[in-house]
């Protein structure tokens, strides 16, 4: 029995080390020139557009009614034209001469089942759609319960992509992703790969490559090694540090580009010490974001001011940034009643101690948390860090007390600033700060009803200014993505919102 325990122990240690060594022992595979392999962190887990449509949209097997252009605006997709009939009714005119991959014509009648399915699903619960109807041969009419100007933006989401009626079983489940895109579904292996081939009947210019293979590879390092070993032609979302090393390899190219995604702190407004705005402001003044960007992010990405990065989207309002001013942070804390006591601070006999919760599926977050910890300690916070599962954080933060959560998310994954409602609307927010502000709610609701872009911008700018002052969320940094490709890959243009990789343009 002793022996067994010891062997097990030794074996564990040896396996750990040899496992690491194994990373370097991958051989390269010969590659077929007409096949393009792309590796991404997300594994294909379903062929149902309602669950996994965004992924099938990214590789352009499925196409939605409307698409997102490279400048982040809503553009034609399967629908060439869309307009508001009255403030609760929208009409979409479908493109002529489009067929699904199985040969079925794309008409209002054949698109309708998919749309109904999507808007009825729980993922679309926040979109107040009352009815989807086929009002003419090529006209789709969508009725909303209330005036809802973000509707076109929601029609770009992968979940709304139509599949052929033949792909939908009698029980309502989807058996094959038969879409309309430049690539058509060939086969897939749940959880790992998708193979798609060029669609010869595509209405647009079509794909330049014959076969597209999508691989879901969760681990950054593995994705990168596969690219270096020529097992991938494109590896998406690599660590920032990889940009330099890829650039030094003549056979590889690194594409870096900014995306509307942010890292931020979510404060619990319902419990001390962050119920006090002065303490939240102190945090924002204590954090040196320039330093974080320059060192940890390797200069890729930038320091955040508000929710939206102004160099990526036009929805960013002009805001007063929180500069790195440790002295100001200290005096704010003193004003809030937290008096310096040696290295720490005390109020009513209680020490100023907070915990930062974060998760490690975004590998940089715990490291950034450690830097923030040091910077907050410098002004007198006692900080501990808990690295947990993101789902656990969501659950615990929604149901109970916490101090602050370091989170990362897209701020514009459908191209409409109504996304702000997810952050700060008192009722519909999915972030858990507990922020409630009547003015903000009113602006958000009003902006949903207004059609005019400039009018809407005014409302969203007001919301951004208000939350910049109230600080339910502290914006830290914006993201830049690093995409590695073979050097001879041409025609690739990174898409800011990444709703589609547009690999049909790649040669």
């Amino acid at each position: 029995m002793y022996k067994f325990t010891r062997r097990q122990a030794l074996f564990g240690a040896a396996a750990g080390i040899s496992g690491l060594g194994g990373y370097w022992l991958r051989g390269s595979e010969s590659k077929d020139d007409d096949t393009f392999r792309v590796g991404s962190p997300w594994t294909p887990d379903s062929i149902d557009p309602v669950t996994n449509g965004w992924l099938w949209r990214r590789i352009n097997v499925l196409e939605p009614l409307l698409t997102v252009d490279y400048d982040g605006t809503v553009s034609p997709g399967l629908a060439t034209d869309w307009h508001m009939v009255n403030n609760r009714t929208w009409e979409f005119a479908l493109r002529e001469g489009v067929t699904f991959h199985d040969g079925t014509d794309v008409t209002a009648a054949t698109v309708l089942p998919s749309l109904t399915r999507a808007f009825d699903s729980s993922s679309m619960a926040a979109v107040p759609v009352d009815a989807v109807e086929a009002t003419a041969d090529r006209t789709i009419t969508i009725q909303t319960a209330v005036p809802f100007s973000p509707l076109p933006a929601h029609c770009t989401r992968g979940i709304t992509c139509p599949v052929s009626p033949a792909a939908i079983d009698d029980d309502g489940s989807v058996n094959e992703p038969i879409g309309t895109g430049p690539f058509q579904f060939e086969n897939w292996e749940a959880g790992s790969t998708i193979t798609a081939t060029a669609n010869p009947d595509y209405y647009g210019s079509g794909a330049h490559i014959d076969t597209l293979i999508y691989e879901g590879i969760t681990d950054d390092q593995t994705r990168r090694l596969k690219l270096e070993n020529r097992e991938l032609d494109m590896a998406r979302i690599l660590p920032n540090k990889a940009a330099d090393t890829l650039a030094s390899d003549p056979d590889l190219t690194a594409h870096t580009y900014k995306i509307p995604r942010a890292r931020y702190l979510v404060f619990d407004l319902d419990s001390a010490p962050f119920s006090d705005r002065k303490v939240r402001r102190a945090v924002m003044h204590a954090i040196d974001r320039d330093h974080i960007v320059a060192s940890l992010l390797n200069g890729l990405g930038s320091k955040a001011v508000g929710p939206f990065p102004s160099d990526v989207t036009e929805w960013a309002a002009e805001l007063e940034p929180y500069e790195h001013l440790p002295e100001k942070a200290r005096s704010l804390l003193a004003e809030a009643g937290w008096e310096a006591d040696g290295d720490s601070r005390i109020r009513d006999g209680e020490e100023l101690s907070v915990s930062i919760w974060t998760y490690n599926t975004r590998p940089l977050l715990p490291t950034i948390a450690e830097v923030i910890q040091t910077q907050l300690q410098a002004v007198g916070f006692d900080v501990d860090i808990s690295v947990m599962e993101s789902s656990t954080i969501k659950e615990q933060a929604k149901n109970g007390e916490f101090d602050t959560v370091l989170w990362s998310s897209s701020v514009l994954w459908y191209p409409d600033p109504d996304r702000l409602s997810d952050f700060v609307h008192s009722e519909t927010a999915t972030m858990f700060s507990g922020y409630e502000n009547e003015t903000v709610d009113q602006h958000l609701e009003a902006a949903r009803r207004i059609a005019d872009r400039d009018e809407r911008f005014k409302r969203y700018a007001a919301v951004q200014r208000r939350i910049q002052r109230d600080l339910p969320l502290g914006w830290l940094t914006y993201y830049a993505n690093v995409i590695g490709t073979r050097a001879d890959v041409e025609g690739y243009q990174p898409h800011p919102i990444e709703s589609c990789y547009h690999l049909e343009d790649v040669t």
Partner: protein, 296 residues
Amino acid sequence: MSDRAANRRKRQADKRQGWTDGLTADRLGQFGIGVVLTLLVLAALGPVVSPYDPAEQDLSNRLESPSLSHPFGTDQLGRDVLTRLLHGARFSLGIAVAVTTVRLLVGTAVGLVAGYAGGWVDEALMRLVDTLLAFPGIVLALVIAGILGPSLVNVMLALAVVGWASYARLVRSSVLSLREREFVTTARLLGRSRMHIATRHLLPNVVAPVVVLATLDIGSVILGTAGLSFLGLGAQPPTPEWGTMLASGRNYLRQAWWLVNAPGLCIMVTVLGFNLLGDSLRDMLSPTQTAQMEEL
């Protein structure tokens, strides 16, 4: 040649054989002892001697490769890896000793009671032990640590909870064979209390195998702690725990191999040291040899 001379030669040959056996066993044992002692000294002195603070960040010196001023390089936040490893040794050794002690105390107590009391008490305790042993320890520890939430204390608790069963088993079986021995019967007939017999007559006789088991166990506790911390259930950053360091270094595998190799090697050498020490202790204190010594 007389029988006597032959016998003497045979005895000498036996003696030589035994002597060389002892030496090889000892050599590994000595190595084990050496490793463990070195570690103890390093853990005690290292943090005092090192010029760096394990939590002090220097973002302008991130991911520096090993050099004279940083023998094991620096990590993703510019902290000295060697200093962190030395502090980590304190955590690893401290936790391993603490957890093993708890396992040992609980397990021995349960084993003694079950073995000596017998009857339904024995039955109840042993079924509990069976249940624990039937479950893969690390999986159960994962579940417990997962439920309690990530922290080093919870990992210690989890590891202590799952590990005591083998001690109980070992002690109980020793007690079962000891309780029928004459010296126990004599003590009972002399009117000694059950408590007295258990602590004065039974306990001293089970110490040797328990100590051997404990030494071997330390290695597995170190691995367990590192494993759970690697999975994010144990020490939270910036605590310089080996498993946590291994996990965060993994993200920099291509740029900074020392971030993974250094804590990995530390874990391996430490576990190896304790296992070799345990092995040689077992050889020295094995029941057969003890029996032989009694007969002499």
